[in-house]
């Protein structure tokens, strides 16, 4: 909603018509001779294209034989993992890779072996021997290369590079520690960053938004190269792909971003259109676009310069890529290619192909891309059949050698989780502390002290009481949103790679005004409004971080986490470990937890995040904690889900002596904090429930003489139990409270662990006080839904120590507990 863009009713309401650009279909018609004549290829280039295509075919054949016959060339092996093969699609893959350098990044799908090999082989070809040797020597300290060398029969550095590539990929697919990702990625996630091969994704369309984030990274951090998002035609139905395309298509890149930032993102959506979405046929059955290329017209006036090209002719694909790459370099992105190809194998080896006829398969095989290209080479007099056979034999031999090495348990061991059962646990987080992920000078509009918000905060009281002990007025109190702001603005001035975006993030300053002032401080490419596309907001952030940047995506309401479920639960937490710790994931997702807004805007979903390994989860509820934890989150290299509560954005600091420090400080993630010392019962709270627990503690002391120790969890993952155990050993009783609906919440996890750790010290079982297992009712009825101060006393009276003359306000009896559970509420 920039004021700079005037929405003119006269213009908007004017009559007219939308003219869609023409989308070329199969327009490439050059012969091999034409291409040679134009100097586009040498003979060697064309023979290498043949070699690369055959290499992919043999690689997939090997995997198919292993899956279906339990071995390859008579050497048995059982591969229980997945194998989504791309035989038939070789020309599309090799064509895709041909024009790319190692600065160009590709992202893939679950069926991307061909793309990896094609890009790898191409990278080996264009890297100097020195560069290639360096890459191989340095990767896993030479561990992968050393095994590959054992099967290397001599030849050039590039020949060794091919051994290295094939071995690394096979070993990864077979889950070996010497594989490209220590065997933790596997068939569907194999990748190799030094060759510009970024993660493939087992979630259909998963790369659709992540790759856009990579393009954003390249733009914002002025990195060379383009990004190619290889996805299948089936993925075009997926929300994240649509959202990713939407994000990539935003007008603001052209209309609002300034200087060299101005212009479309360097992203090419390359649809490997193999006609099938698992068993569903896209054209004619499950989609309605007729040709996949048509969807480009829905995103940009230039239809993303979409073309439908023949993916059975590598030269047609290369021709299209040359033009698209040039367009992207002219900042005309995003672009779209619909590369028509065909998958010989089923979705997986278990697929019986019941959805297609033998005739159809045979018809495509009759036009096989490798055979056809070989014929063209022969027709052009570039190679004899013997020469082609020799190329085939050479690649077969190499693959067989690498296969034998990769299945050798001694040379290619698996990660030993029996000997060291913490090995994988140690890989879940990178736990680094880094001031800045960029060497560049951060781009800002003015010195920090000139920022209007910074000036405004400077006049605020940093403790909730003034010097005389009187409460400071709300307007003059340094509050939680100020605390978050201070750490974020600090990082914006420290780390040039840091960007923040989300809905209403710029001029509005975020729906809850945390970013107020940042608009003035930052150019549009560092803080901008995203489309209402949570999957893209998080997905692009993942891609941005994967490439090396720091990013704060914002989810306006916790309830919208569902809209980016795959990104939060399946992508963000996975890539550090799944990459074998090659990738870091410095993404701080700000999530605001609502109230007052009913069933779809007032839910505390912190527990959903704690359930997924690989995410750090924090929920600070004081200005001091919010500032310190945000500083830690932004200093780290791990994904942090940073929850904020809309109930208390304007809370002042009530606990930290001397108020919130002006200078930078960090609070380690994972350390709960004792907010009030007591001896008779412990309250452990998550989120804004802290303030209700304190009220309960007041009443408990006043009326019943019991002193509650109140501990604010602050973080959920990681979580240090030591302070809580110490407290429970003292008090013998604990209530664990939070606003998440009680069933299945993290509160129960805490309760179970505390019971385990403190069993002999417990005077009563830990009591969990969560919200009722209902929809969140309207604000006026919320007191019956969220834990209230009286609930704490009820729990004490009913479950721990009967209180004298106490009349409970809620029914916490065991009988009622059973009845509710029986009813599922």
């Amino acid at each position: 909603m920039p004021k700079s863009i005037y929405i003119d009713p006269k213009e908007i309401r004017k009559a007219g018509e939308i003219k869609l650009p023409t989308i070329p279909v199969m327009q490439y018609s050059k012969s091999v001779e034409d291409e040679l004549r134009e100097g586009n290829y040498t003979r060697e280039d064309l023979l290498r294209i043949y070699r690369d295509m055959f290499t992919i075919r043999e690689f997939e054949t090997m995997l198919n034989l292993v899956k279906t016959t339990g071995g390859y060339n008579g050497v048995p092996y059982n591969n229980p993992g997945p194998a989504h093969l791309s035989a038939g699609q070789e020309a599309a893959a090799v064509g895709m890779a041909y024009t790319l350098t190692t600065d160009d990044y590709i992202f893939g799908s679950h069926r991307s072996h061909g793309e990896i090999l094609a890009k790898g082989l191409r990278s080996i070809q264009i890297l100097s021997d020195e560069e290639l040797t360096k890459v191989m020597d340095e990767f896993w300290g030479g561990a992968t290369l050393n095994v590959a060398k054992k099967g290397f029969k001599g030849g050039s550095t590039k020949d060794l590079g091919i051994c290295f590539l094939l071995y690394g990929a096979i070993a990864e697919i077979f889950a070996r520690e010497t594989g490209f990702n220590k065997g933790l990625g596997g068939s569907m996630h194999t990748f190799f960053i030094p060759f510009g091969i970024f993660p493939n994704n087992a979630i259909v369309g998963g790369s659709g938004s992540i790759s856009v984030g990579a393009a954003l990274y390249k733009r914002v951090n002025r990195k060379p190269g383009i990004v190619v998002c290889n996805i299948g035609d089936g993925a075009l139905a997926r929300g994240p792909v649509m959202e990713g395309m939407t994000f990539a298509s935003m007008d603001q890149f052209r209309t609002m971003w300034e200087g060299d930032m101005k212009g479309g993102l360097p992203i090419l959506f390359n649809v490997m259109d193999n006609q099938y979405a698992m068993g569903g046929q896209t054209r004619g059955e499950t989609m309605g676009y007729d040709f996949a290329a048509r969807i480009g017209a829905g995103f940009r006036p230039d239809a993303m310069q979409a073309e439908r090209v023949d993916g059975y002719d590598p030269l047609a694909v290369i021709d299209a890529f040359r033009r698209k790459k040039a367009a992207l370099e002219r900042k005309e992105g995003p672009c779209l290619l619909d590369v028509v190809t065909y998958r010989y194998s089923g979705h997986s080896p278990s697929d019986q192909g019941s959805y297609r006829t033998k005739e159809e398969l045979e018809a495509w095989q009759a036009e096989d891309c490798i055979v056809a290209f070989g014929e063209k080479l022969k027709d052009a007099g570039l190679a004899t059949q013997q020469e082609l056979d020799s190329i085939q034999q050479q690649m077969r031999d190499t693959i067989f050698e690498m296969y034998k090495l990769a299945i050798d348990d001694t040379l290619s061991p698996r990660m030993d989780l029996v000997k060291n059962d913490e090995l994988l646990g140690n890989m879940m987080f990178s736990n680094q502390s880094i001031d800045s992920l960029s060497n560049a000078t951060p781009e800002v509009n003015h010195p920090m002290e000139e920022n209007p918000r910074v000036k405004q905060i400077a006049g605020k009281e940093r403790f909730y009481l003034d010097k005389d002990g009187k409460p400071v007025s709300k307007m003059k109190t340094f509050n939680i949103r100020d605390g978050i702001f201070e750490s974020i603005v600090d990082r914006f001035y420290k780390d040039a790679s840091l960007v923040a975006y989300g809905e209403e993030n710029r001029e509005w300053g975020g729906a809850f005004a945390v970013y107020r002032g940042l608009t003035e401080a930052l150019p549009p490419h560092r803080l901008f409004n995203a489309p209402i596309a949570e999957a893209a907001i998080i997905g692009t952030a993942i891609g941005y971080a994967m490439c090396g940047g720091r990013v704060i995506p914002e989810i306006m309401y916790c309830d919208f986490l569902g809209c980016c479920g795959d990104e939060i639960f399946n992508q963000l937490p996975k890539w550090q470990a799944m990459s074998g710790n090659i990738l870091r994931m410095p993404v701080v997702v700000r999530v605001s937890v609502g109230s007052k807004y009913g069933a779809q805007h007032s839910q505390d979903w912190t527990s959903l995040c704690t359930h997924i390994p690989g995410l750090k989860v924090v929920f600070p509820v004081t200005p001091y904690d919010a500032k310190g934890l945000m500083a830690s989150a932004l200093q780290g290299t791990d994904p942090v889900i940073f929850f904020e509560s809309q109930r208390i954005y304007d809370k002042g600091e009530e606990f930290h002596e001397g108020g919130v420090p002006k200078e930078y400080y960090e609070i380690p993630i994972g350390e709960p904090d004792v907010k009030r010392v007591g001896k008779d019962v412990t309250f452990l709270t998550i989120g804004a429930t802290l303030y209700r627990a304190l009220k309960a503690a007041d009443e408990l002391k006043e009326k019943y003489g019991m002193e509650a120790e109140v501990i604010d969890a602050r973080s959920m993952v990681p979580f240090n139990y030591e302070k809580v155990v110490e407290s429970v050993k003292k008090t013998g009783r604990i209530i664990i409270a939070g606003d998440a609906t009680a069933r299945g919440s993290f509160l129960n996890d805490l309760a179970a662990n505390i019971t385990d750790l403190c069993f002999d010290y417990l005077d009563a079982a830990p009591v969990v006080l969560g919200s009722r297992n209902w929809i969140t009712p309207c604000h006026e009825l919320e007191e019956s839904f969220f834990p209230q101060p009286s609930w704490f006393l009820d729990a004490i009276n009913e479950k721990m120590v009967p209180l004298k003359d106490y009349i409970p306000s809620t029914n916490l009896t065991s009988a009622q507990q059973i009845i509710r559970a029986k009813r599922g509420v």
Binding site: G705, D760, A764, M800, K804
Partner: protein
């Protein structure tokens, strides 16, 4: 100036005494020598006489209270003098003084959360914390009433039970952990520490059987009775005892008794040496040859005595007492006879040195029921001693005098109960046989 009367310390092992009766009440005037109160230790009764003249200004205890030694009991002085400062601290005492009572109520007001515990319920749930605390404090949870939800025994119930008596010594805690015992509100150790000897057999929980029934009366055991009960029970619970029976030819014994009696009557002997004295004399001799029997069994160690301290079971009106005669091995028969008579008389009259009543005081005990015609019995070891000899009545029995000739001769029965942890059957048998040999061959002339 007001004078304080303290509970005297009667012997080293005495930790506390029980006041049997206060003879003087607050307001009474007393003269020097007036009996202020009577009290009893483990097994002896005493009277405390006033050493000053004046008026009883304060009395901090009531009849029946168990009072740690050296604790202030009464204050005597001129009316109007202050005495509050002499009131013993509440944790030192079992029953709070009258003055202390309101203080205790104040404390209650401080913690209004307290809800009276319900009745003691068999099998009541116990919180893990309460269970753990009960173990630490040596409290039997089956005797505690729960005040938690659903009658659960919770930490505060154990704390209340623990507060109702002093802290436990290590030994007392170990004994309590075995169950069946009750600790007093305050023990006799430092700062009211409850020592092992303070423990009493637990009272039954069942208040319903208290009082009178249709065909029975419920009578409280005397403290003495309770102590005996506890130590006897403790003996059988905590040792591996069994008894060997054997007889000795009593002809020489009877002959010596006859001569001694005559000599005593004629004034030639300074003691009326009895059969029991002679048996004891023989026992001392046998013990010197069997040091393992002259011992204490400490579970994982033995205390082997170099001297013989002979315990003697004495039947008194107040119950069984077992005083020790120290260094019996140094005594001739006359000395031994006199010593045995002295301690027995002291027990019967009261005033025996309580130190001599401790089971630790004797190295071996003799219990003689022969006078009562008992032919055979299984005495209970006075633990930690390793053995006890029961002396039975003399019974005429046929004896093979050789060549198939049997003669009726008097035999005295000997029943040796020994702790199999300390002695094996062979050694025990040889020991009791040695007693018989000593009895048959007593080398004394009167």
């Amino acid at each position: 100036m007001a004078n304080v009367v303290i509970m005297p310390k009667q012997g080293q092992s005495v930790e506390s005494c029980i006041v049997t009766e206060f003879r003087k009440k607050v307001g009474d005037s007393v003269a020097v020598g007036d009996v202020l109160f009577s009290y009893e230790t483990d097994k002896a009764t005493f009277e405390e006489e006033s050493k000053v003249e004046g008026t009883v200004l304060a009395c901090f205890f009531a009849d029946g209270d168990e009072i740690p030694v050296l604790t202030n009991v009464m204050v005597i002085g001129e009316p109007g003098e202050s005495f509050e400062e002499f009131a013993p601290k509440s944790e030192e005492t079992s029953a709070p003084a009258a003055e202390a009572a309101p203080k205790a109520e104040e404390k209650k007001a401080d913690t209004p959360v307290a809800i009276a515990a319900g009745p003691v319920v068999e099998g009541a749930p116990v919180s893990p914390r309460a269970r753990r605390l009960a173990e630490q404090k040596g409290i039997d949870t089956s005797r505690v009433a729960g005040s938690g939800p659903y009658g659960r025994i919770i930490e505060r119930d154990i704390q209340a039970a623990a507060a109702a008596r002093g802290p436990l010594s290590g030994k007392a805690r170990a004994m309590m952990a075995e169950g069946g015992l009750e600790a007093p509100q305050a023990g006799s150790g430092l700062a009211g520490t409850v020592r092992g000897c303070d423990l009493k057999e637990a009272k039954p929980n069942h208040t319903s059987i208290a009082g009178e029934g249709v065909d029975f009366d419920v009578v409280k055991m005397t403290n003495m009775r309770k102590l005996i009960a506890r130590s006897m029970y403790n003996s059988l619970q905590n040792s591996a005892q069994l008894t060997h029976h054997l007889s000795a030819d009593a002809r020489r014994l009877q002959a010596l008794r006859k001569k001694a009696k005559k000599a005593f009557e004629e004034g030639r002997l300074e003691a009326n040496v009895t059969i029991n004295d002679l048996v004891c004399f023989a026992v001392v001799k046998a013990l010197q040859k069997f040091p393992n029997a002259n011992s204490h069994c400490l579970g994982d160690a033995m205390r082997i005595f170099k001297k013989v301290h002979l315990g003697l079971a004495v039947d008194t009106e107040r119950g069984l007492m077992v005083p020790a005669v120290k260094n019996a091995d140094e005594m001739d028969i006359v000395q031994l006879s006199n010593a045995l008579k002295k301690v027995a008389d002291e027990c019967k009259k009261g005033g025996i040195n309580p130190d001599l009543l401790s089971p630790e005081a004797a190295s071996f005990t003799v219990s003689n029921l022969g006078n009562y015609g008992v032919e055979i019995f299984t005495p209970i070891i006075n633990v930690p001693q390793s053995a006890i000899l029961g002396v039975n009545t003399i019974v005429p029995r046929p004896k093979d005098t050789g060549n198939g000739v049997y003669e009726i001769v008097p035999f005295i029965g000997l029943s040796l109960t020994y702790d199999h942890r300390a002695l094996d059957g062979g050694e025990a048998t040889r020991f009791v046989k040695q007693i018989a040999i000593e009895i048959e061959n007593l080398d004394i002339d009167f």
